[in-house]
Symmetry: C2
Subunit: 223 residues, 2 copies
DNA sequence: GTCTATAGTTCGATAGAC
DNA sequence: GTCTATCGAACTATAGAC
């Protein structure tokens, strides 16, 4: 990490490169240590930038944190909307396909070490399951709209699913999605190595099937 | 809070009362702000105790944090084992009953404001879904043994469920349990007030049914 | 066992030169 | 736009009186 920071500081930043480097380093630091555990000094060092630049560009540590979330959340939710639109265009809107459209963007991002997505999903899992005021506010800001899109889609796709049941189904799906997008090695450990965190498609397929039958059961309480 | 702390400091602590007061205050502070966000000074103030006592009794902030988790985890997992034992004694071991035995102790604790359990479950949801080294270590220490108990129980109860599928089912159940034990108001908000966080039995029943059919689907991939 | 006082760091943020 | 230098506050932890 120290070597990478040095390399980065050796070449001068060009148009907007400093901001991106700070966001990258902040993403890693916040994911590893949380909001209070990460320090602006360590973030600056990780970015190969001067600590004062954080306040110059973002104003405060708090604003930097939210900027880290905002940067990726837009793309994630756009991919979800695109996948839903593609399903409609192809006339292939099944319950399983809708759930897949919800989970796949984050779960695959969480296993994309090349673009650093794994750091972001670790951070997002913290925020999405956090009960502190900051986490609740940020989750609401960036994920309420997409939640309502998918809740409506679930109601339209699963016969007999009322709104309350759709909300339950959505929140259950998200809870499982969170556990999949930020691997801790626990899955592999408890299965004595049989389940591999790297096998994203197998994890997703099993999760989608699990959630789909669960939602159908919520739609038919007597069944 | 300040008033409560004052009241507490006005009456002298008796046998072990200071330790318990510190643990209570630490539970609240760690739940609200996380490990780094909570300060030993604020915890001492909340307990109506001197800040130096934290180190006298627990040695370090780190050790205090683990003591907070340890204090309640034993009781939670004992209740789970007791519930399983009661099911066996009554010959009523169904998949639904096993899942209920897993989730009910934490979910009910999370809505027990009288004994302060809600603070603990907020903290536990952070730790259980955290990917930092401390969270992973603590989760492993206090919840690996009970995980294996329930994974074995699922395999014995759901016909055709192999170990890998049982691990998937267990982790999905726990993920949903985490989302239920630390309410954020999101469930109520997304359902426009129809779903009430206080209705623990309804939430638990719906979750148990959801998880049970999901696990049965994992047992019969072709079904 | 409980307190005061403080050591020794480290924090977020900013002022001001360039 | 990027840097150095630093402020004032807050932190964990400990020493030592009682």
């Amino acid at each position: 990490m120290s070597k990478s920071a040095t390399q980065r500081s050796e070449r001068a930043f060009e148009r907007g490169e400093a901001q991106e480097a700070i966001l990258d380093a902040a993403e890693i630091a916040f994911a590893a240590s949380g909001f209070h555990g990460a320090t602006t000094r360590a973030i600056a060092e990780g970015a190969g930038a001067n600590a004062a630049l954080i306040h110059y560009y973002f104003g405060s540590k708090e604003a930097l944190f939210e900027a880290v979330i905002a940067r990726r959340s837009g793309a994630i939710n756009q991919e979800r909307r695109d996948r839903l639109a593609a399903l409609h265009k192809a006339g292939a809107v099944t319950l399983e396909a809708v759930i897949d459209a919800l989970l796949r963007p984050t779960v695959t991002l969480g296993h994309d070490s090349a673009r650093g997505g794994a750091h972001f999903t670790r951070l997002l899992s913290h925020v999405a399951s956090g009960t502190d005021e900051r986490s609740v506010r940020i989750t609401s800001t960036y994920y309420d709209a997409i939640a309502r899109v998918f809740i409506d889609e679930l109601m339209a796709t699963a016969p007999g699913l009322d709104r309350a049941a759709a909300v339950r189904g959505y929140l259950n799906a998200v809870a499982i999605g969170i556990s999949l997008m930020a691997p801790t090695g626990r899955r592999q450990m408890l299965s004595d190595g049989v389940l591999r965190e790297e096998d994203v498609d197998a994890m997703l397929d099993a999760a989608v099937r699990f959630i789909a039958v669960g939602i159908r059961a919520l739609a038919r309480p007597s069944g």
